[in-house]
Amino acid sequence: MSFKYSDEVLKRFRNPVNAGKIENPGGVGVVGNRNCGDVMHLYLKVENNVIKDVKFETLGCAAALAFSDLLCDIAKNKTIEQALKITKDELVKELGGVPAPKLHCSLLAVDALHKAIEDFQKKK
């Protein structure tokens, strides 16, 4: 490979702590397109407008997996309004940067969160 991942990306990739599903989730966000390689499902559990738990299932590159895992940590215990303010730049910074071709993977995670919140608000 002609680029290198940061240690933060590799650590999350190797040992994701938020992988999995939530039974009867309050909202689900599904993004990605198998044609371009990556699919992400994000599951939310919301109580009193606060995200109590977030889990992900991702089929993707190491960066996509790391961003998924990180997003879950960041979104946890935030109110819906706060969670909507999470940006992809914040994720990228938190992981110590990613190679340029992998920047879009962070967008995937943020999109999944927005979709999941949308789903939650529709169901409410």
Binding site: Y5, A19, C36, D38, L59, P101
Partner: protein, 380 residues
């Protein structure tokens, strides 16, 4: 940690015997092969002896072999050299959709310089469509360039048939034999080959040294101007240690090596295909002895590669030069693989140093990794 190197299509470990014969040509016999004194003559003799070794391997004459800086350079000289030499005769070149970038990008560049290029399709088993190739020939066609064995999926093309077609139509036939050299027999006379590219580092030789077979009386427009080395076809002081090492690498490969590698390859294919949701890319017959290309459903290739690397196993997602791009491989696309399957493809390439124990460790590792990655994949 265990270390298992299964990326031998990218490059190989240099054989010990090769390093040993090269060493004196750095430390003692360092003469310039163009010089008349004894240092020079010593180097010259060794270069000519090496030329003979390469020539014999493909049933060519020694003066039909020139040494180059590797496979990419050989391809450049063969293709550009022919195209510019024959541009008054015609401007049409035929190649295939799944050539190495070292051929495709040359053709693309020529396409911008007034040449017309036809890219012949590949069937789902990994073979060039010969009917289409034949039908593409026009009275402007001056060159057909089709690789001998593909670097990603290992399929070996029917160069005998392609050579015949070219001979009948009086067209120059070039084949990129970088992956197949010393693994698949080549007879340039019988197969009517005009030009063939080789590279040492794919067969336990050093990097940066290759050769081009140029059939007698074939004229090429020189690509590197300068001195008169290599029959005035390629300027530059000969890389004497590299040339010596290249020839030694060719000499030490045995038929028994190839047989053993083939057996190991088949073992690896069979064991990996026992994992659910897997498929072999390219035909298992007429396949390089060391190539295993497997698509794993619902997993991303890069995640497999990095996880295997954590276990000390080196593999690749597609050819090394393209793995930092996000598009899926043009080779897998050419054989009609869906892009989702292309994204989950891993190439394992063996060498004569690969052991059964290493393969068992790899198979075990792959099983665990696929299970883990599918566990966190939304598609099961």
């Amino acid at each position: 940690m265990k270390k298992v190197y299964l990326d031998n299509a990218a490059t190989t470990q240099v054989a010990k015997e090769v390093v040993e014969v090269m060493q004196p040509y750095f430390l003692e016999k360092y003469g310039n092969a163009s010089c008349l004194h004894s240092w020079g003559q010593e180097a010259r003799d060794a270069v000519e002896q090496s030329r003979k070794v390469i020539a014999e391997k493909i049933n060519a004459e020694p003066e039909e072999i020139i040494f180059t800086g590797g496979g990419s350079e050989s391809n450049n000289l063969a293709i550009k050299g022919t195209a510019f030499q024959l541009k008054d005769k015609g401007n049409h070149i035929i190649t295939s959709e799944f050539e190495h970038p070292a051929v495709l990008n040359i053709c693309k560049a020529l396409g911008k310089k007034g040449f017309e290029v036809t890219y012949v399709a590949i069937d789902k088993n990994g073979f060039v469509n010969l009917e289409q190739l034949k039908n593409s020939i026009t009275n402007k066609t001056v060159l057909v360039s089709i690789m001998h064995a593909n670097n990603e999926i290992g399929t070996i093309q029917n160069i005998n048939e392609i050579g015949n077609i070219c001979k009948e139509n009086n067209i120059v036939f070039h084949t990129d034999a970088v992956q197949s050299f010393a693994k698949v027999p080549i007879d340039v006379k019988k197969e009517n080959i005009t030009l063939a590219s080789f590279s040492a580092h794919k067969l336990h030789g050093p990097k940066g040294i290759g050769a081009l077979y140029i059939k007698k009386a074939t004229k090429l427009k020189k690509q590197i101007d300068g001195g008169h080395q290599e029959f005035n076809q390629r300027s530059g002081t000969e890389n004497v240690p590299g040339i010596i090492g290249f020839a030694k690498a060719v000499e030490v490969i045995t038929e028994k090596n190839i047989e053993n590698i083939t057996e190991f390859r088949n073992y690896l294919i069979n064991e990996l295909l026992k994992i659910k949701g897997t498929a072999l890319n390219g035909s298992q017959d007429n396949r390089l002895c060391n190539n295993v290309s497997i698509s794993f459903k619902n997993v991303e290739g890069e995640s497999i590669l990095l996880s295997l690397d954590d276990k000390g196993v080196a593999v690749t997602t597609s050819s090394a030069c393209t793995s930092s791009k996000l598009e899926s491989s043009h080779v897998l696309k050419a054989i009609g693989l869906k892009s989702e399957d292309a994204h989950g493809t891993i190439r394992f390439t063996l060498s004569k140093y690969t052991t059964k124990e290493e393969l068992d460790y790899t198979i075990e590792s792959v099983r665990g990794i696929i299970k883990k990655l599918r566990g966190i994949s939304p598609l099961k």
